[in-house]
Symmetry: C2
DNA sequence: TTGTAAGCGTTATCAC
DNA sequence: GTGATAACGCTTACAA
């Protein structure tokens, strides 16, 4: 079955394609009669607009590229869902790509999206992202670029991030208020801004409450449960072991909890733990884990809105940096006192 | 910065756009010299092929639509990841859309993807999918359509699914072998084929082992933990309560376990539970939950391969139905005996 | 080996 | 109010 074009409709009605186009676009200079006729035959011939032709002509593909490290991480897939829900009603499609945290892949993907004439790119930088040239290049092509969660400091590029420091501050403060005296911190990759900020928030909270910062209490791990267990073991082997852990990841928190229970620690009575990300599993556990929520759905929607603003204002270089506030979800793993 | 086209290169070299095009496409009839020259100036002018123009001309957009109920479900996002990993290296982009389980949205999305001239559609039918006309329509446009996981029986349409019955059979058989005498089954929506098949596998396993099927032991719930709890409560209130549950979802299994522990049941000693989907959280729990793995990554890759085959064979109507074998992951929640 | 010109399906700018 | 025509950027017969 051949695809019907506006020419087919034109031929059918003995008018010209231009008229058909105008009628379909509800151009006021077209008579109601012809409009009705065109619409009717369009339906009859099952006409569907070819978006590619429109895109080529207009220079707008109505596609937006979304780039994440991995798609099957709850945080990222939920951000994408937020973006989708905001952009689809406006007629945009979302093209997703994953970098697998590779810097090279990130460059390729951005280039590829540009070739595909996307109208914008919404991206969370990969862990090994190299340089900023590919990002600046996007701007030079007049294509809006918006960072979310993991940003890079580049002039003229907007971002939607979480106030990681504040989240860490809240978590640490909460632990202090629970009466914890020696709070350790598990982190991942301190070359990433988000983890630097979480560390900073942790430190700040300690300082604000007259507690000393102990470098031995900060331990970096790979985002895995096993690593969390090992780290907890290490911490508990210190001359003065901690009585609480604020982990920059939920899996780290989980691993720590597993180890602590193995050695007979009672949680939250003897030991408190707070994670970060509010992954779904944290609430499913028999011992639900307190965690800092990153509101990924809102982050996605916000990033999409920033994109739309840039498109509408027609100025790619407007830098807008939205910082979302985290919210601490207090659960059993850190709740000594009720209420 | 204006985008450079092959015309810009042509002008620069005082040749014609056609020659440039051929040179870039490594056409053997172009002299090595001009090729080199073209490539060099292409690089110099920072030329990037406009995929839209290519798509319009060739009729192939190099985009594939992937449609799922929700993207932020581990199963679906992992299938998408599989599709991506298979298709990206072949130069395809993946456009994702979510139906939110709505039949109407499914129709709109399919139509929209067709307008966008996708080269194929890979879809898991929405729960409330209405009719088959929109699917048949895709075929009539000569666009390959592939179902995964949730399929519809339509002649000429390929699918990649899991052998749900076999998975259910394995799970039930395993429970029987653990010595369970009264095995209940939690399901969700029996209007969906996958749940029908899981029920069938459960029944078959019972029959094959001389156990009677008791309709009171089958209970349908919404895919939520609370519902799982309630259902477990109901089951335990029966004159002859079960001593095992095979749940068609992991969340259902989790809810059941929570209730059972509340009333003091020892798992797996007194009661065994097996879930379905092998969601990540099942292994994180303090009491890891046995579950049937659906190998979503493989499912995605396989669906992508089937799509590629259809594209290459140039015949949309080749029906190929791949059925993947599930594998039961035995964990503590159902492991009375070791080994 | 390279140039010419048509065509993919739209929309926009002139005309009339 | 409608028609002709050019243009978006690329590929591809057909010529030369």
């Amino acid at each position: 079955m051949k695809k019907t074009t506006i020419y087919d409709i034109a031929k059918e009605l003995n008018i010209t394609a231009a008229t058909v186009s105008r009628a379909l676009n509800d151009n006021p200079r077209i008579s109601e009669d012809t409009k009705k006729l065109v619409l009717a035959t369009a339906k009859k011939l099952n006409y569907k607009q070819n978006k590619l032709a429109l895109a080529l002509k207009s220079g707008k593909s109505k596609n937006v590229g979304v780039v994440v490290p991995y798609i099957n991480r709850n945080f990222f897939s939920t951000v994408i869902r937020g973006i989708e829900e905001e952009l689809n009603p406006k007629g945009y499609n979302v093209i997703i790509s994953q970098t697998h945290e590779e810097g090279k892949k990130e460059i390729d993907i951005v280039q590829n999206l540009l070739n595909a004439q996307v109208d914008g790119i919404i991206i969370s930088a990969s862990r090994q992202s190299k340089g900023n040239d590919h990002f600046k290049y996007v701007l030079s092509k007049n294509v809006p670029l918006i960072f979310f969660d993991r940003k890079k400091e580049i002039e003229g590029i907007s971002s939607v991030t979480l106030d990681d420091a504040q989240g860490a501050y809240q978590a640490t403060k909460h632990l202090i208020e629970q009466g914890c005296k020696h709070i350790a911190h598990m982190t991942i990759d301190l070359s990433l801004l988000i983890y630097q900020n979480r560390l900073a928030g942790y430190k700040q909270a300690l300082a604000d409450h007259g507690m000393e910062f102990n470098p031995d209490y900060v331990i970096a791990l790979q985002s895995e449960i096993v690593a969390g267990k090992d780290a907890a073991k290490k911490l508990m082997g210190l001359p003065e072991p901690p009585d609480a852990i604020f982990s920059a990841t939920d899996l780290g928190a989980l691993g720590a909890i597993q180890y602590l229970r193995e050695i007979g620690k009672k949680i939250p009575e003897d030991f408190c733990v707070v994670g970060f990300s509010n992954e779904p599993f944290t609430q499913f556990m028999e011992l639900p884990i307190s965690s800092v929520d990153q509101s990924p759905l809102l982050m996605g929607k916000t990033a999409a809105k920033v994109f739309l603003e840039q498109i509408e204002s027609n100025d790619v270089k407007i830098e807008k940096n939205v910082v979302l506030s985290p919210s601490l979800e207090i659960r059993k793993s850190s709740q000594k006192t009720l209420g």
